[in-house]
């Protein structure tokens, strides 16, 4: 029995120590915002924060975590950087299919936490490990700049209050 601190809550899970955090989050705890893309740390879809650092959960054995604090996309909006990133993501409309975007948001939020005013090179260094098959990279860069500066850097979407409702 392992105890993981996920999004500020202690969760006890009965899993082998070599099981990657990704599957503990998705299949055991039921937090499915963290995605499976490659399983070999080449795409970044599974990015979560461990003690504030962006890590690839698909290759992170849970046994290595100890009492580290894990933050997933479900809770990142409660951090100032996460909120800024999510808002900018919507304002410049980064999302296409959206599958990689939770990982992108997590990498970008970590970047902003460490470096509130990232340059293009900083963005390259922190974000190039996240693959987007739809090719949203141009807007990812714009959104990070916008989140950092608070100033619009591209055409802004027209926002409205979305109704929450059943997905189907």
């Amino acid at each position: 029995m392992l105890t993981l601190n996920v999004n500020g809550e202690d969760r006890s899970v009965e899993v082998p120590e070599d099981m990657p955090l990704l599957w503990v989050l998705r299949d055991v705890i039921g937090l499915t915002g963290t995605k499976f893309g490659c399983g070999i740390a080449q795409c970044g879809a599974c990015t979560v924060h461990v003690d504030g650092q962006a890590v690839r959960s698909c290759v992170l054995p849970v046994g290595e975590l100890g009492d580290a604090k894990i933050t997933t996309v479900e809770a990142i909006g409660a951090t100032p950087e996460g909120k800024k990133i999510q808002d900018a993501w919507l304002a410049v409309e980064v999302v296409q299919c959206g599958y990689c975007q939770t990982g992108q948001v997590m990498s970008a939020a970590a970047l902003l936490r460490h470096n509130p005013q990232p340059t293009d090179e900083d963005i390259d260094a922190a974000m190039s490990g996240n693959i987007c098959r739809c090719g949203t990279y141009v807007r990812i860069r714009q959104a990070i700049h916008q989140a950092a500066t608070g100033k619009p850097v591209a055409e802004q979407t027209i926002a409205y209050n979305l109704q929450k409702g059943p997905a189907q």
Partner: protein, 735 residues
């Protein structure tokens, strides 16, 4: 007011293009079946469905208004990144006169007759057809609902309907000062007659259409709450990990499961014709156990199949094989200087970010499926066949797709999941590993194209000949699409109709099938992606041979064709075409009219002395007719270009001994953020007809890049992916 729908029985390619079609699939799929399309008005089965969904007012299959709560809009197409949920919601909401803050969207159930796309005659999302096919119907559907709400109000208030106005989900009568919300009117509206004719808004009054409305799905996709197929969790579900024979067409000979059974959590080991599945409470446990299986394969008939052999065979077939002619007209016997070239296109994997998956529960009396599919009704048909259950006992819940690109036009993954679930009593979530996803794709096939031109004294083509060689997708996927003699129009899409003024044209196809065990599929941009690379590369070659500027050369051939010409001019102007560039930097232009749109892309590249290509800048101009959401248009072009450049730079699936060599993103590479240049997209406004968007950027990407590489290096690469080893600067030493 509906789209002109040409006679299904006598499809005409020209007619198709004239109505802004351009997708060879169009009109062919439904032959022999009912006219399966969405409609603004009630259809058989509508009322029953609406009742099941508990809708108070359901004027058609697309809109549900209840006594309270938001307006529910049913999405006939699937959302896989192209932004179609937002666009379709905008079109419905526009004429219904509600704000996007007053609606929610829901995935449509699989019913061709209610949710089929007119251009495809089935509930299929693909071929950049959605908005082209649906936009007027969706507007009309909104208008029908609005008219019924108004007449309900007018009846209640005893006032003329013509005096009532609507705004943001409320009907008002100014003179009497009365008003009622759509919720309040829903019950009465349901009793109104469906109007035969409805007026549509003047586009200048649009509140939503044409504006960069925020996508409906984005908020849930940045906070992790959006549910994709892979995220489905149902009670008692087990996860299945699959291993199938690495050799195409190979079968399971034997499997020893003792070690696998010892792994923690293992539930069942399930034998399949081509492999084995292991189920466990989670993916990791299932994977670990599956990896402990000792499997012996019967590798089957394709152990000698290789990509190298395939290209040799294509080369041979394209020289000696019998051709089916797409088009042959004009004075083809003109003599003059002849220029020839051979272009080659690799096998490609789709590699959507969400690996293929499906949740299936087979019960004695029914089969329930949760999956993100571009072809939900096809999936239902496949499941019915495998389970022996009638189609109405197959309950399919469609989901958001983590990328489609044509891969989810196939139902092989659903079939595999059904075959697993059939053998166990509990629901099974089958998830493919990335390795499985790439190795067992239904890939885009390889082509080898011979193209030649006779040019006049100035170097302009007067005779154009093009012979493509490769396998046909519809031969398996939709044989009814083929011409009587077996000709597949997709294979010459965007090569048999050019906007350029060329007097004589001969375009043909030499069929060369892939092994039966390697089915081939649609891949983003379909025929155009393959053909435009060759056509635009060859046009560039002709310009170079004529000693003319590639933009000028194209301009001259587009003189009589103003819509394409303005797109070309816009892109050239935006990038500053003609500027002097540093050594080994070059710009390449490509123009085409795929999917009823007109697009021009210009890439600027720098090629290092050792041949490494770096894209410095991209500019595109697009005329797709009426623009629904400019933000989406820009996104589709940017993303489509990156998708196409990724292919051109990195992507090739190779078979060795019948098995795919690549397996994951370390050997099937994707462009990354730090390789992506700034990309400007310029929308050239035009009244219409309306064109498609989802595949346009991809189709135009590779030729612009290859032409830029030529401009930078003087080396013409006619085979994809572009081989950097051929681009090293002979003048430079090691660098």
């Amino acid at each position: 007011m509906t789209l002109p729908i040409p006679d299904v029985a006598q499809p005409s390619r020209r007619a198709l293009l004239q109505t802004g079609g351009g997708f060879a699939l169009a009109f062919f799929l439904g032959v022999g079946s009912a006219r399966a399309t969405i409609s603004a008005r009630p259809q058989p089965g509508d009322a029953e469905l609406a009742a099941r969904e508990g809708a108070t007012f359901a004027p058609n299959a697309l809109i549900r208004i209840d006594r309270e709560g938001p307006v529910r809009l049913v999405m006939p197409n699937v959302e896989m990144g192209q932004g179609v949920y937002t666009t379709e919601a905008m079109l419905l909401a526009e004429e219904l006169d509600v704000g996007l803050d007053q609606v929610i969207v829901q995935h449509a159930p699989p019913i061709d007759a209610l949710y089929g796309t007119p251009l495809l005659k089935s509930q299929t999302t693909g071929g950049s057809t959605t908005v082209r096919a649906n936009w007027m119907i969706l507007r009309e559907a909104g208008a029908v609902a609005r008219a019924m709400l108004i007449s309900a109000a007018a009846e209640q208030w005893g006032v003329p309907a013509a005096e009532c106005v609507t705004k943001a989900g409320v009907v008002k009568h100014a003179a009497s000062g009365r008003s009622a919300t759509y919720n309040e009117l829903a019950e009465a509206a349901a009793r109104q007659q469906t109007p035969e004719k409805v007026g549509l808004k003047d586009p200048k009054d649009f509140k939503l259409v044409g504006k960069p409305m925020r996508r409906i799905d984005s908020p849930s996709k940045v906070d992790g709450s959006a549910i994709f197929g892979i995220d489905i969790r149902v009670p008692d579900m087990q996860v299945a990990y699959v291993i199938t024979c690495p050799t195409a067409g190979g079968t399971l000979k034997s499997v020893k499961e003792d070690e696998a059974r010892k792994q923690p959590g293992v539930k069942d080991v399930i034998r399949l014709p081509h492999g084995v599945a292991v189920t466990a409470p989670n993916y990791w446990a299932a994977k670990k156990a599956a990896e402990a299986l000792e499997i012996e394969w019967d590798h089957g008939p394709n152990v000698d199949f290789s990509t190298e052999g395939l290209f040799k065979a294509l080369d041979e077939a394209s020289r000696t094989g019998k051709a089916l002619v797409a088009r042959s007209d004009g004075p083809l016997d003109r003599k003059g200087k002849t220029i020839e070239a051979v272009y080659q296109h690799p096998i490609l994997a789709h590699a959507p970010m969400e690996p293929l998956n499906a949740v299936v529960h087979v019960r004695p009396d029914a089969c329930e499926i949760w999956v993100g599919s571009q072809v939900p009704t096809r999936a239902v048909g496949a499941a019915a066949k495998l389970t022996g259950l009638p189609e109405d006992k197959i309950i399919l819940h469609n989901q958001y797709l983590g990328g489609g690109f044509g891969r989810r036009l196939e139902v092989d993954s659903v079939e595999l999941a059904v075959n697993i679930a059939k053998q166990v009593p509990y629901p099974v979530k089958m998830i493919w590993s990335r390795e499985h996803d790439i190795r067992h794709d239904i890939p885009r096939t390889a082509y080898l194209d011979r193209v030649s031109a006779v040019v006049d004294d100035e170097g302009y083509p007067v005779v154009w000949k093009d012979r493509t060689c490769g396998a046909s997708v519809p031969k398996r996927w939709a044989p009814q699409m083929l011409r009587k003699d077996g000709f597949d129009a997709d294979l010459t899409e965007c090569s048999d109709e050019l906007s350029y003024d060329i007097p004589a044209f001969h375009v043909e196809w030499v069929p060369h099938d892939m092994p039966e065990a390697i089915p081939i599929g649609w891949w983003r941009g379909v025929g155009p992606t393959h053909n435009i690379f060759k056509v635009e590369g060859f046009v560039d070659e002709l310009a170079h041979a004529a000693g003319k500027d590639p933009v000028e050369f194209r301009r001259k051939m587009l003189t009589k064709n103003p819509r394409p010409l303005s797109v070309l001019n816009k892109a050239a102007e935006a990038i500053g075409w003609g500027e002097k560039l540093p050594p080994r930097v070059g710009r390449g232009v490509a123009f085409a009219s795929p999917f009823g749109s007109h697009v021009c892309a210009i890439a600027e590249v720098e090629v290092s002395p050792r041949g490494v290509i770096r894209i410095r800048r991209g500019v595109a101009a697009i005329d797709c007719g009426p623009v629904m959401n400019p933000n989406t248009v820009e996104a589709q072009i940017q993303g489509g270009l990156i998708f196409g450049w990724t292919m051109a730079l990195f992507n090739e699936i190779t078979f060795e001994k019948g098995a795919v060599k690549q397996s994951n993103f370390h050997d099937y590479r994707m462009m990354r953020l730090n390789e992506t240049p700034p990309i400007e997209v310029h929308i050239v406004k035009n009244e219409g007809p309306i064109g498609g968007m989802g595949e346009v950027g991809t189709a135009i990407a590779a030729p612009a890049l290859a032409n830029a590489v030529f401009a930078a290096t003087g080396v013409r690469l006619r085979r994809l992916p572009l081989d950097p080893r051929l681009l090293a600067d002979p003048k430079a030493g090691a660098a």
